[in-house]
């Protein structure tokens, strides 16, 4: 079956009786039934068709999570085309690259902001014919030769015979391309992974075999739909099971909207879970002393129970009792205020999540599990099973999926969900697809319980000048486990020792500074306070204690600026682009291997008037004692 065929099936099965989508608009959750969902897709598809969209074409989509996004995607697929998701915060050249590379002639863009990017870069997309927008605000006076409103396209489609749509949907085959999913990649240009309907539906089937969802379950869609993880839940799994997908009112209201919906399942990258935890921590710090004490006691009980669960130990009756009390008094209400009361399965994936965060959610009795997979395998190949969660592993392969570790230590996988290659990039395809095995580029191993442990990117393992090996990602994750560290970049290739660039977490560190009456003005100023340097140094020291001598971090700096995707330092999914960072901060890295304890860094500031100026910021370089025996 194809995704639009599944949609038709659902529409026939549930028609107007069940809610397929919900969007909060004008303060009210507005529901769309399966029949209405299908009707929107039909009208939009026929409208696109009359504008010239043909089988094998591609439709690029950019915008926040709204029903129109999925209507457009399924409409393209129902005509035998593929959809290409773009990150809504991508800058104009990135948008232009993907639109042009994917040969998309049609783009669906949410609003003025997205339309502006497309018009700015129009010269770089010679094949672009039409841009469909759905928020008309501010678009008066725009060139209407290229722009057309979403409802207008639906209206065009409403005038076409519905039978044409039925024929188009029926012509669809499992092996049709459904998605071109561009992976932002930590090096070089993005690559477009080609995923078929069979890929996506087999992934959904196998994930749901492990963790069943029921029709009528609730899911909140708030992460970029260009990301495979969001596609997995909001489209593939949602259609397969028939659960309800809820779109928040605005990006700023996500937290409140999650609470209103009370989802049954959630899949978010670590940063979302970390943010939730840090929100709780900041609020608790702000509350009264009695409440703080009570919270700490309850959390300790919850964590002790979670530890027993991780270790598969039976809980003592005393622990059982205090856990029950803690749950009743603190943990359950806290979970409710986070909107997680009804969660049956929660997932984290895309990067590693700190054990403290993991423990916190299990202490709240939130069934948080790790997912491992790549875009190239439709998002998931490995997941924790209920009651068998270990935070240092990513779990076991899902059904129909073989995972093995090659002789060189690389994680390989094979399943019906493995992609058909990268669009217009046979070299990259040949590198990652060999004999049907997807080469992940990650190094890993299986532990004694058959859980997969992911160590690092193969290409990222580094060697010091004396030849000893270390994994920068492993060290960075350890550093990031602190609530005060947001990002870390470890260096040391061909150097005498390991060193790190650290990004502080502005909210948590700011709060910490405030409660200690440390005044600061800007992020740059806060980051260079001596007390903050001591705070981070203490954490690095603790991390060092668990590390072999060679892997210990001997020197570090706290960056005066947050790493940012707009500056190409991170990918859109917030992974560090190591080579860019190393290049940009070469002077700081030089200082890490010099003898000075302060270095002046030139940063460019751009004023509103367009004037640019260079200011010189002093950045502290800290040395740590690495020879001390732990």
């Amino acid at each position: 079956m194809t995704l639009p065929q599944v949609l038709r099936r659902n529409a026939e099965r549930w028609g107007g009786r069940r809610v397929a989508l919900r969007e909060k608009e004008l303060g009210i959750w507005q529901a769309t039934s399966w029949a209405a969902y299908d009707s929107h897709v039909r009208r939009f598809a026929l409208g696109l068709r009359s504008l010239g969209f043909r089988r094998g074409d591609r439709l690029a989509i950019v915008g926040d999570n709204r029903p129109e996004w999925v209507y457009a995607e399924l409409a393209a697929q129902s005509l035998g085309g593929a959809s290409v998701g773009l990150y809504q915060d991508a800058v104009a050249p990135e948008v232009a690259f993907v639109v042009d590379h994917s040969d998309a002639r049609f783009v669906v863009a949410e609003d003025q902001e997205q339309v502006d990017k497309l018009l700015d870069a129009r010269a770089r997309m010679p094949r672009l014919e039409r841009v469909v927008y759905y928020d008309p605000r501010g678009l008066r006076g725009y060139p209407m030769d290229i722009l057309i409103a979403f409802p207008e396209v639906e209206e065009l489609g409403a005038g076409e015979p519905a039978a044409t749509y039925d024929e188009e949907v029926a012509r669809g085959s499992d092996d049709d391309l459904a998605l071109l999913c561009y992976t932002s990649g930590t090096t070089g240009e993005p690559k477009g992974a080609m995923l078929t309907h069979a890929n996506l539906l087999s992934m959904a089937r196998n994930l749901l075999a492990v963790d069943p969802c029921a029709e009528g379950d609730e899911f909140v869609s708030f992460l970029p739909l260009a990301w495979i993880g969001e596609q997995m839940m909001s489209v593939s799994a949602a259609l397969t099971v028939g659960f309800t997908v809820n779109f928040p009112e605005e990006p700023e209201t996500v937290q409140a909207n999650i609470r209103e919906i009370g989802p049954h399942t959630m899949f978010s990258p670590p940063r979302i879970w970390e943010n939730l935890l840090s929100t709780v921590q900041v609020r608790i710090e702000d509350s009264t002393r009695a409440k703080r004490l009570f919270y700490r006691w309850a959390l300790r009980a919850g964590e002790a129970a979670a530890d027993a669960e991780f270790a598969k130990r039976r809980m003592s009756p005393g622990l059982r009792a205090s856990r029950a009390l803690a749950e009743l008094a603190v943990l359950a209400p806290l979970k409710d205020s986070l909107g997680l009361s009804r969660i049956r399965h929660a997932y984290t994936g895309g990067a590693s999540l700190g054990p403290d965060t993991f423990r916190f959610f299990h202490a709240l009795n939130v069934n948080l599990k790790q997912i491992y997979g790549q875009t190239e395998i439709s998002g998931i190949s490995v997941v924790h099973r209920d009651g068998d969660v270990k935070y240092e592993t990513v779990g076991k392969p899902i059904p129909e999926t073989e995972v093995r570790v090659s002789d060189t230590g690389e994680i390989l996988s094979r399943s019906p969900s493995v992609f058909r290659g990268y669009y217009k990039n046979p070299e990259a395809t040949a590198r990652s697809l060999r004999d049907g095995w997807l080469h992940s580029g990650d190094s890993g191993l299986f532990d004694e319980d058959g859980h997969l442990v992911v160590i690092d990117r193969m290409s990222d393992v580094m060697r010091l000048a004396d030849g000893s090996k270390f994994s920068p990602q492993y060290l960075e994750n350890k550093l990031k486990f602190s609530q005060y560290v947001r990002e870390a970049v470890v260096v040391g290739q061909d150097r005498p020792h390991v060193a790190a660039l650290v990004n502080i977490d502005a909210a948590n560190v700011g709060k910490w500074a405030e409660t200690r009456q440390i005044g600061y003005t800007t992020y740059a100023d806060l980051s260079q306070k001596s007390q903050i340097s001591d705070l981070v140094a203490a954490h690095v020291d603790r991390v060092n204690r668990d590390l072999p001598r060679a892997a210990r971090i001997a020197r570090f700096v706290i960056l005066h600026k947050e790493l940012d995707a707009d500056d190409e330092e991170l990918t859109r999914t917030r992974k560090v682009r190591r080579h860019f960072v190393e290049e940009r901060y070469s002077d700081l890295i030089g200082a890490l291997y010099g003898g000075d304890d302060e270095v002046l860094v030139d940063t460019e500031v751009q004023y509103r008037s367009g004037k640019r100026a260079i200011t010189r910021v002093p950045v502290r370089v800290r040395s740590l004692e690495v020879d001390r025996v732990a």
Binding site: E25, L26, G27, I28, R137, G138, R140, E249, E250, E252, T253, A256, R608
Partner: protein, 273 residues
């Protein structure tokens, strides 16, 4: 002379011996963004107060949509479709954003105390219709995330936006804005400027704007009037105003730098003769 939506004719206003307005006449065309500028104490706010019925002039007439509103009390003026925001925020700080905006709908409520109290029949329908208008305004001003926050806990820029929202909730034909951008940073000003343009173009609301930021005034206004000591010393398009000798004189010393810059820009933009 009154071809405009709002016509102010020879307005005089005095407080004891102080002359606030000494014969001001304005003609605000429907659909325009009409800026009123001038040094402090020039009578700009007094003019808005006279239009909205807070002050009653000693001489002169105010006509709105061909109706004499000179001596109407403020609530009657509001009912005719004139809304305003204040220089200093005038919101109910202890109430939520939503409630403050709902209050802006007050002039459109007709049902009595009893029906309203029981939330019954027409009163219920009315409340729902009003909520719908308010939600449109919330969507328009992008303040969904603060809908149920207490106004007093909001940042200054957001409070200003809420006040603009309350004026919009009235669904006015004419919006009087008294320094909507005062105390804002550049980014917030850009946001408000965009909202004013959208209000004007998409909702078809005529805007009379008092603003000190000459850059903004010159960018978004269709016409500008300059007041000084209670008198109108100039009126015209932004380009005309920039070059007007009386305006430059009135501003010298106070905002000379800003104006000189504006002048330079005007000269640079003018075609070579």
């Amino acid at each position: 002379m009154s071809g405009g939506q709002l016509a102010v004719d020879d307005l005089h206003l005095r407080f004891g011996g102080v002359v606030a307005l000494a014969g001001v006449s304005l003609d605000v065309p429907k659909g325009s963004i009409f800026a009123v500028v001038g040094p402090n104490g020039a009578g700009k706010t007094s003019l808005l107060n006279a239009v909205s019925g807070l002050y009653h002039p000693s001489r002169g007439r105010v006509r709105f949509e061909d109706r004499d509103i000179t001596s109407l009390p403020p609530h009657r003026v509001a009912r005719l479709g004139i809304a305003r925001s204040f220089q200093n925020i005038e919101l109910f700080a202890g109430m939520t954003v939503l409630d403050n905006l709902m209050l802006g709908r007050h002039v459109h409520m007709r049902s009595g105390v009893l029906a309203g109290g029981l939330y019954w029949g027409a009163a219920r329908r009315e409340e729902l219709a009003n909520r719908r208008v308010v939600e449109d305004v919330i969507d328009f001003l992008e303040i969904e995330a603060i809908r149920s926050r207490t106004v007093g806990t909001l940042a200054y820029g957001l409070q200003k936006r809420v006040e603009l929202g309350r004026a919009l909730a009235l669904e006015p034909h004419l919006l009087l804005l008294d320094e909507p951008m005062a105390g804002m940073n550049v980014e917030e000003k850009e946001d408000v400027a965009r909202f004013i343009l959208d209000i004007n173009e998409e909702r078809g609301v005529t805007v009379v704007l008092i603003e000190h930021d000459m850059g903004v005034v010159m960018d978004i206004s269709t016409r500008v009037a300059v007041l000084d000591f209670g008198k109108k010393i100039a009126e015209g398009t932004p380009t005309e105003i920039r070059a007007h000798p009386d305006v430059i004189k009135a501003y010298l010393g106070q905002e000379s730098a800003a104006l000189r810059e504006a002048e330079r820009e005007a000269r640079a933009a003018a075609p070579p003769s």
